[in-house]
């Protein structure tokens, strides 16, 4: 009940943030040079461009355009891709592509956490020792590589040179799960390695701080095994920052998937955003990027609430 109230209390600022973010997005779209309708259908006559401008509200001022887009979204009309002689509903694109991107992000998060949690705990436990130093050096190197560079290197090494996996493509898990996993390995690793580095370093710092807390010393002095102390008494309170970071990254990762999905030809929302940008489909860009900001806010709020459940100290502080 308390959580529900908390959620409702956070709903208003959440909506406000989404409105402000999407409005700023509209502003940026309108600042792009050139006539947006002409760029959407470059080979079309002026009369068609005028029709599209009228339909989308691009012939109005900034507020008029934004209101037209927002009221459309609120009534389930997410806009269209415009062509000379037809159009395509963006809602259909979202329905097809969003699940693929969410799956990719989920896999990347799982892999990143699976790497980061044991590595962060052990590094913190062995602070300053050889393992910690080597792990820090490797992680620092990994995090300095952008995802797209890792993607191209992985593709060259694992797909072309070693021939272990395919460099491009996507198969739904329902169609062929084995092939699905095989095709997702490279994109997931390209996204996950950078994340894992960040997570490990966050967890390591928090665990080092927690290990110095009195209750940890007390637990150790009671004769509880090191493993039990680490997992039960240290990891749980130290995971708050990690959880928050992971949640924040959920939104940010959709942005990261734009390049990764394009390189590996995965038909997710990032792939669609890339081509919408290339084709200057302004309405589609606005809707798809707005979706990222909505998800960003949603995941942030959700993790805030989850943190309150997992860490009683936060709840008490807020109360």
């Amino acid at each position: 009940m308390n959580i529900a109230r908390q959620f409702l209390r956070r709903l208003v600022p959440m909506i406000a943030i989404v409105v402000i973010a999407t409005f700023l997005l509209s502003l940026l779209m309108r600042l792009l040079p050139g006539d947006p309708a002409a760029i959407m259908v470059p080979n079309s006559p002026q009369e068609v461009r005028d029709q599209i401008a009228h339909e989308t509200g691009l012939d109005r001022g900034l507020f008029g355009y934004y209101w037209k887009w927002l009221s459309g979204v609120l009534t389930g009309h997410f806009g269209k891709y415009y062509l000379n002689g037809g159009s395509r509903e963006i809602s259909a694109v979202i329905k097809d592509t969003l699940p693929i991107t969410l799956l990719l992000i989920l896999y990347a998060q799982i892999v990143a956490l699976v790497i980061a949690i044991p590595l962060g705990l052990v590094s913190a436990y062995k602070e300053g020792k050889r393992f910690d130093k080597i792990a820090s050096a490797v992680l620092f190197t990994t995090v300095s590589f952008p995802g797209f560079a890792l993607a191209l290197i992985f593709s060259l090494v694992f797909a072309v040179k070693l021939g272990w996996v395919d460099p491009i493509g996507y198969v739904p898990p329902t169609e062929n799960f084995g092939q699905h996993i095989k095709l997702m390995i490279l994109p997931v690793m390209s996204l996950a390695l950078g994340l894992a580095s960040g997570y490990t370093r966050l967890l390591r710092t928090d665990v080092i701080a927690t290990l110095k807390d009195d209750y940890v010393t007390m637990a150790a002095s009671k004769g509880i095994s090191n493993r039990r102390v680490l997992w039960r008494h240290v990891f749980r309170p130290s995971s708050t920052t990690l959880l928050t970071s992971a949640a924040l990254n959920m939104g940010g990762l959709i942005g990261g998937t734009i390049v990764i999905e394009t390189i590996f030809v995965i038909p997710g929302i990032g792939f669609e955003i890339f081509y919408s940008i290339g084709a200057r489909q302004i309405v589609a860009m606005q809707t798809l990027i707005a979706l990222i900001s909505i998800m960003y806010v949603f995941f942030n709020t959700t993790v805030d609430l989850l943190t309150q459940i997992t860490d009683p100290r936060t709840r008490e502080r807020r109360a």
């Binding site: 080979n43 009369e47 002689g85 395509r88």
Partner: protein, 581 residues
């Protein structure tokens, strides 16, 4: 008979016997190999092909480029097709003839062909397609229906501007009347592989014309709408064509997925690994990947087009602020391009240095007047330009798209021009934005060609029909339909010149009764363009398709006995006769 003669005669007999034996063996071998290749053809299977272009839609006003044109051509067919020998052969038309004045063309259509929606391919369907693509439907419906037909307006109107009327005197015969004499009219209908015959149900629907392709081709549309999706096509079970040599029903493949792999390195990697069954590449910007794949002969096969694609640098003569109304300005820019170095550095040697606006296989080809690289001469032209106009510098805008290759090409040229005292201001914009500013197909006019210059590949091939609309001042000439399209006649003339001497030479060439007479006029026209520096060229390029060893039948299928289609062009290959081994 001397001993020497006897010996000689014996040797000759042996040689003769050996030749006869060789011929016999090779005949048996070739018969055997033909039989083997016929029996080796397998039906069914799905393949994936990597392309580098996206799909703009499937209606008349949407112009698919190169690799996306290849994909689109699996669903649509043209009335005529080009053979290896550069002549035209009927596909949906069986034969054709023209009146002696070359102004009336009669096409007999193939019977028994169905569109994918089950409707009959006939003269009425051809008339509908041509009337909608040439602006005839717009003009007939004007003004009451104009708003509903705006989607038909596009570059096709400029291409078909010579058509006065289309009539259907019988179910399978079309008569096309032209404004001016045109000896190469089949080339206009072919439109470099874009002269699609669409079903009336597609053409007349303004809401779905771009998204619901209905053709007569070997494959049917399954899914894939713009901008970046895969295009999936499936076998047309009712396809009309059979292999003219074996009688086998076509096509062989069940399904093809054309997938856009923007990254050339990934496309190449996927072909090497076998994730893609084939991938198309352009030598203009993907020389590195082409070279890499070419080294993997054990894994891939290469099918390469002739270097018959001629990118030009168009120089806008009428835009306010553009220096190119002045001949010296044009010649300065043309003479200050180190083409040899460009080909070596930017194209990794995978293109050919231009010595004319078109290549040697084109009927217009001549080197006369083509501005060769000469820094001193270019500098002299710059000074002459300044003296004549009072300008303090020769400065112009030069757009590049946002790809790294395009920007690098632009910077390379910019550096070269700077050495001659010419300032090129690079304007980097999205391709769509550049196209929208360069071609404004408004029926009522408006701003056209928003840049001082533009590097764009428009010239291609061996003939004139496809290239002419980009050169002449007015494609409509005397066609009364131009009353409805104030500026579309000059839409494709990116130089926006007003010199009708060019029109006269080219139109005279198209009106000539012999190929020799036509060629002389075309060469004169090209020499005129080159001497006056209307535009210039840097290189000639080709397209290439790499496939895994699993694919067979590429380039083997004949359109009719003895008539083999060009194997690879800018639109790739024909997938009708391709099979999976």
């Amino acid at each position: 008979m001397t001993q020497r003669q006897t010996t000689r005669s014996r040797v000759m007999r042996r040689v003769g016997a050996a030749i006869a034996a060789t011929i016999a063996v090779s005949t048996v071998a070739s018969t055997g190999s033909h039989a083997a290749s016929t029996s080796a053809i397998k039906r069914g299977g799905e393949i994936k092909v990597g392309i580098f272009d996206t799909f703009p839609g499937y209606c008349m006003a949407n112009n698919p480029a190169n690799s996306s044109l290849m994909a689109t051509r699996t669903m649509f067919e043209t009335l005529v097709e080009k053979t290896k020998g550069n002549d035209f052969v009927g596909v949906l038309a069986t034969d054709w003839s023209s009146s002696t004045d070359l102004k009336t063309w009669t096409f007999n259509l193939r019977q028994g062909v169905k569109f994918h929606d089950g409707t009959d391919f006939n003269a009425a369907a051809v008339k509908t397609q041509l009337d909608y693509s040439r602006g005839g439907a717009f003009a007939a419906g004007y003004p009451s229906q104009a708003a509903n037909l705006l989607y038909t307006l596009g570059t096709s109107i400029s291409f078909d501007a010579n058509i006065l009327s289309v009539s259907a005197p019988s179910t399978y015969q079309v008569v096309i009347t032209l404004d001016r004499a045109q000896n190469d009219f089949p080339g206009t209908l072919y439109a470099s592989g874009r002269g699609f015959m669409r079903a009336p149900a597609q053409v007349t629907n303004k809401n779905t014309c771009s998204t619901n392709p209905i053709g007569t081709g070997p494959f049917k549309f399954v899914s894939g709408v713009v901008p970046g999706n895969d295009l999936v096509v499936a076998k047309n079970e009712n396809y009309w064509r059979k292999d003219p040599n074996t009688g086998a029903q076509l096509p062989y493949l069940d399904k093809i997925t054309f997938t856009n792999v923007k990254e050339g390195s990934q496309r190449a990697a996927a072909v090497r690994k076998g994730s893609l069954d084939a991938g198309m590449f352009t030598s203009g910007s993907e020389g590195t990947f082409i070279k890499d794949l070419r080294q993997r002969k054990s894994k891939v096969n290469e099918y390469r087009s002739p270097a018959e694609y001629y990118p030009s640098i168009w120089l806008n003569q009428t835009k306010v602020g553009s220096p190119f109304a002045n001949k010296d300005a044009r010649l300065a820019v043309s003479k200050c391009i180190d083409r040899k170095n460009f080909v070596k550095v930017r194209a990794k040697g995978e293109t050919i240095e231009a010595d004319s606006l078109v290549g040697p296989t084109n009927i217009m080809y001549t080197k006369t007047g083509f501005a060769k690289f000469n820094v001193a001469a270019a500098k002299a032209h710059v000074e002459a330009y300044k003296t004549a106009t009072g300008a303090t510098s020769l400065t112009f805008s030069f757009p590049t798209d946002t790809s790294t290759a395009s920007i690098a090409n632009g910077k390379f040229l910019q550096t070269q021009w700077a050495k001659c005292g010419i300032t090129a201001n690079l304007v980097t914009e999205e391709t769509a934005a550049i196209i929208s500013k360069s071609f404004n197909s408004s029926a009522t006019g408006g701003a056209q060609m928003g840049y001082d210059s533009l590097a764009l590949l428009l010239f291609e091939g061996t003939d004139v029909a496809f290239n002419l609309p980009f050169i002449v001042t007015d494609t409509f000439k005397n066609n009364p339909i131009k009353a409805y399209f104030a500026k579309l006649g000059t839409l494709l003339n990116l130089n926006h010149h007003t010199d009708t001497a060019v029109d006269t030479l080219l139109y005279d060439g198209e009106a000539a009764q012999s190929k020799v007479a036509a060629s002389a006029k075309y060469k004169a026209a090209l020499a005129y363009l080159q001497t006056n520096g209307f535009m210039t060229a840097v290189q000639r390029q080709y397209y290439t398709l790499f496939t895994t060893k699993k694919l067979g039948g590429i380039g083997k299928l004949q359109i009719e006995k003895g008539k083999t289609q060009r194997v690879v062009t800018n639109w790739g290959i024909d997938w009708t006769g391709v099979y999976k081994k």
